[in-house]
């Protein structure tokens, strides 16, 4: 690590502890090579064009005050679930797992690591400094009776996590990942998710990002999808000063389906960036992306989606949509839906809109006696419902609605 000559990044990693996870040497070496001579990316870097890291570089982190199991349990969103509790360096694993399900510490599990694909320095840092991680394996043909819930609470300080998910052939599971933080702390968390979705598996991952102000929540999803599988990542960003999601899904088997959805509600000086890459490597696959957001106050939202259709991926059907509503003069929305297509027999399209609520719809509601604020809130809620409909779990939906109502004071 002495090889890193730059200043801010150097400062940032100075007090990090080396990884406790046995990360393959090859991956670590690639990470070190990647970091060589690098500093925090500036807005000149394409992937950070709209993201200023000054606040992160200047943030003063304190030592975490760890929570006990009961305190952590209180953050549950789904009551009836196999729950994993992660709090900085401590992990509580669930007991009494059904046959076919294994949840272990990453170090104790038999798992393989994907080849490195670093999109930014944080991904490389994760490969060197990941403190904790769990590995969740679902055996072939296993259908989970209840969801798996991961609650990751940041009690301040800088943490890197690495979680592996291995879904066997024809398995079915719903995963809820809840990202929270202890109140009144300043923290940084970078979580790397690695998914292996085997043939015909049906997997739904929903992330509830709900850290408090003062928290930096960075996420990196790397998925490999097998034939005929159905894979879904829903990213719901409710809170957190600075949230960055970077999902890369590589479709490696034919007739697979991928859904990437996101919803974000921003206020104050929040910054939320969603980066997605759909890598269609083989023919006959479908992917759908729906990202919707609302930005108020001085918030900035970024969406950068890329659909990459390789030469052999004929008959690909890819759709990408990003819709935003700006609620204040000082908020801003940056959207970059990209298509990169090398196969001819494909159907790829994207749409992006930024605008405000339909005046006719507002009038309709006002005419029926709703106040201006109620009408607006109702329409905003409806606007976001397109994404929330992918989350089928009542408890989770109720939690989301309650948090939004609370944060934005949306009552009718």
């Amino acid at each position: 690590m002495e090889t890193i000559v730059s200043n801010k990044l150097d400062q940032f990693i100075a007090d990090l502890k080396a990884s406790q996870i046995e990360i393959p040497t090859a991956l670590q070496e690639t990470a070190q090579a990647y970091l060589l001579g690098k500093d925090f990316p500036t807005t000149r870097a394409e992937r950070f064009k709209y993201t200023r890291l000054g606040k992160l570089a200047a943030a003063q982190f304190h030592d975490p005050v760890l929570l006990d199991e009961t305190q952590l349990k209180a953050y549950s969103v789904v009551q009836d679930a196999y729950t994993v509790l992660i709090n900085n360096e401590q992990v509580f694993l669930p007991q009494d797992l059904p046959l076919g399900v294994e949840i272990k510490l990453l170090n104790e599990a038999s798992t393989s690591f994907h080849d490195a694909t670093f999109n930014d320095v944080f991904g490389a840092l994760n490969a060197l400094y990941a403190q904790q991680g769990v590995c969740i394996s679902i055996a072939a043909n296993c259908t989970l009776d209840k969801p798996i819930q991961l609650i990751q609470v940041n009690s301040g300080g800088k943490c890197f996590y690495r979680h592996h998910f291995q879904f066997g052939e024809n398995s079915e599971a719903a995963i809820y990942f809840v990202s929270k933080s202890s109140a009144d702390t300043i923290g940084f968390a970078h979580t790397h998710f690695q998914y292996d979705v085997a043939k015909a598996a049906r997997i739904k991952v929903s992330k509830i990002q709900d850290c408090s102000t003062g928290h930096f929540d960075f996420n990196e999803d790397r998925a490999k999808q097998g034939a005929q599988s159905h894979f879904e990542i829903n990213t719901i960003t409710l809170d957190g000063s600075f949230v960055r999601n970077d999902a890369v899904v590589a479709v490696e088997g034919q007739h697979a389906q991928t859904y990437l959805n996101g919803a974000y509600w921003l206020k104050d000086e929040q910054h939320v960036a969603n980066y997605t890459t759909m890598d269609h490597k083989v023919a006959n696959c479908e992917s759908f992306e729906t990202y919707k957001g609302v930005a108020a106050d001085k918030a900035t939202a970024v969406f950068n989606g890329k659909v990459f259709v390789r030469k052999d991926a004929q008959k690909t059907n890819a759709y990408q949509s990003n819709a935003n509503v700006l609620l204040s003069d000082n908020a801003s929305i940056n959207s970059k839906p990209e298509l990169e297509i090398y196969a001819d027999d494909v159907k790829c399209s994207h749409g992006s809109t930024t605008g405000q609520l339909d005046e006719n719809a507002l009038f309709y509601l006002r005419a029926r006696g709703l106040s201006a604020a109620s009408a607006k809130n109702l329409l905003l809620q409806a606007f976001m419902e397109d994404v929330l409909t992918y989350i089928k779990h009542e408890e989770v939906l109720a939690y989301i609605h309650q948090r939004i109502a609370q944060r934005f004071n949306w009552n009718y």
Binding site: Q314, I333, N334, E338, E340, I341, Y342, C348, S352, T354
Partner: protein, 482 residues
């Protein structure tokens, strides 16, 4: 012909040779190869330029030296050796032509091959042509008629001599020399171009047009175009180019500046057909162009382009919608074939209130080509009620080519409405089937579909150009367009 399939069409596209490959043999007056301050002084002296312009050039050169070539575009090529280019080349004759008869017959021949015989143009079409052969403009027609209305339409160097106040006032106000690598290079070494000024309230009665042509081998061409439409004026400006076949890559780094003052309207149409390189991707023109216009209150700028040539294209005609209620439009058809690479699109910068912009971009990729749309729609804080609509469609003809879309949408005003949509597909089997079922041959059907696909853009071209554009599309997609 009934068995004509899409694969055969693709084959034909690959095999077809460049139609305008000829070199006019005129002794050219070329300065030594390379680029340094002395060369710039030499160019400036040759053109008998005032001191301020030389200072500008030297300033731009200093800026350029500190810059590096942009690499963000989705194109790959061997970077040109900027020291291996002759930066000035002018047909040898020093005195201006008194009449049409004085013009070198070989030049006339060139123009004939390009289909713009001056006599015919003058007699039949009513289009004033400022023909640029390499870098010095050799003939200008209808000048008298235009000057009656107070319209100035002349070569850039002539404008520098005769209207220095206008040139000094407007040059570099839209594309400053600090703008980008190629704009800086152009600002330092530009040789000639066109200048056009439409006075207040004047509606230019004819389409103004300029033909560019890279001629002397190994000569870079650095055109500079400045179009100023004063308050309430209207002008439609056409630019078209064909370049002869050459094996080494040629560099074309032009700068076009449009200034539409209050209530003015400028319509700028381009048909670009520089030499695209041969089937193996050898040779071809590098087209690195900076085109930008600024709209004051109630003004309108409309860019229409049909891009079929060049080995590498890097071109983003843009509009700065500075004034309230101003309108920017961009209509583009980009066809790439063989190993051509195009990274083209537009930027719409909304600054004023109630500004509107429309982007219609149609890409057609064939052979092994790569065709990218890259666009920016930026709504600034003060741009109340700004409105943008963008549509980018790509048509893929073979499975070796690529079609890409990189739109940037940045919005800082809550009252703005922005819509962007893009699609990528090949010619629909069902569309083909529908046509063929009605007795239209496959070849004709493909032609029909491609024409229909581009119609939105072709409709925007002025009459004179629409014919040429259709001719070009026909050549580019030969074998299918009937």
């Amino acid at each position: 012909m009934s068995n004509y399939t899409e694969n055969e069409l693709a084959q034909d596209l690959e095999n077809q040779e460049y139609k305008f490959g000829f070199v006019t043999d005129i002794e050219t007056d070329t300065v030594p190869i390379g680029l340094n301050e002395d060369i710039i002084r030499l160019i400036s002296a040759k053109k008998n330029e005032p001191q301020w312009l030389l200072d500008e050039r030297l300033k731009a050169f200093a800026i350029w030296q500190d810059m590096t070539e942009p690499e963000w575009a989705h194109v790959h090529y061997n970077k040109p050796d900027f020291q291996g280019i002759a930066y000035y080349s002018a047909p040898k004759q020093t005195k201006k032509y008194e009449s049409w008869d004085d013009v070198d017959p070989e030049l006339k021949e060139t123009m004939k091959k390009l289909g713009i015989s001056m006599e015919e143009q003058q007699r039949l079409t009513g289009v004033a042509v400022d023909f640029v052969m390499d870098s010095v403009s050799v003939a200008t027609s209808f000048k008298a008629k235009l000057s009656e209305l107070g319209i100035i339409f002349c070569s850039f160097s002539e404008a520098v001599q005769e209207h220095p106040e206008l040139v000094q006032k407007y040059m570099g106000t839209v594309v400053p020399s600090t703008d980008n690598f190629y704009a800086a290079l152009n600002s330092a070494v530009f040789t000639d171009g066109s200048f056009c000024y439409i006075p207040k309230g004047v509606r230019c009665p004819m389409e103004l047009s300029t033909y560019f042509r890279i001629n002397a081998g190994g000569t870079g061409q650095f055109e500079r175009t400045l179009v100023v439409a004063d308050e309430g004026a209207y002008v439609s400006y056409l630019e078209g180019c064909t370049a002869p076949q050459r094996d080494e890559n040629q560099l074309h780094a032009a700068v076009v500046e449009l200034i539409a003052l209050k209530d003015a309207e400028i319509k700028y149409s381009t048909v670009q057909n520089w030499y695209p390189g041969d089937k193996e991707g050898k040779g071809g023109v590098f087209n690195f162009v900076t085109k930008r216009g600024i709209c004051e209150t109630n003004a309108k700028i409309s860019w229409t382009q049909v891009e079929t040539g060049s080995a590498v294209t890097w071109k983003y005609p843009s509009c700065i919608l500075k004034g309230d209620n101003s309108v920017g439009e961009f209509y583009s058809v980009a066809v790439t074939n063989n190993y051509q690479q195009a990274d083209t699109g537009t930027k719409m910068i909304h600054l004023g209130k109630n500004t509107k912009s429309t982007i219609i971009s149609k890409g057609i990729s064939a052979g092994n080509s790569q065709n990218s749309y890259r666009g920016l729609v930026q709504i600034h804080k003060g741009a109340q009620n700004a409105r943008n609509f963008s549509q980018c469609d790509s048509l893929l003809m073979t499975d070796h080519c690529g079609a890409h879309t990189f739109p940037y949408i940045e919005c800082k005003n809550p009252s703005a409405k922005i819509e962007h949509e893009a699609t990528t597909s090949k010619i629909g089997e069902d569309q083909l089937f529908y046509c063929m079922q009605r007795g239209i041959s496959e070849e004709k059907a493909i032609s029909l579909i491609v024409n229909g696909y581009c119609k939105e853009v072709l409709n925007q071209l002025p009459m004179e150009f629409a014919v040429e554009a259709q001719k070009l599309l026909a050549i580019s997609l030969e074998g299918s367009v009937g």
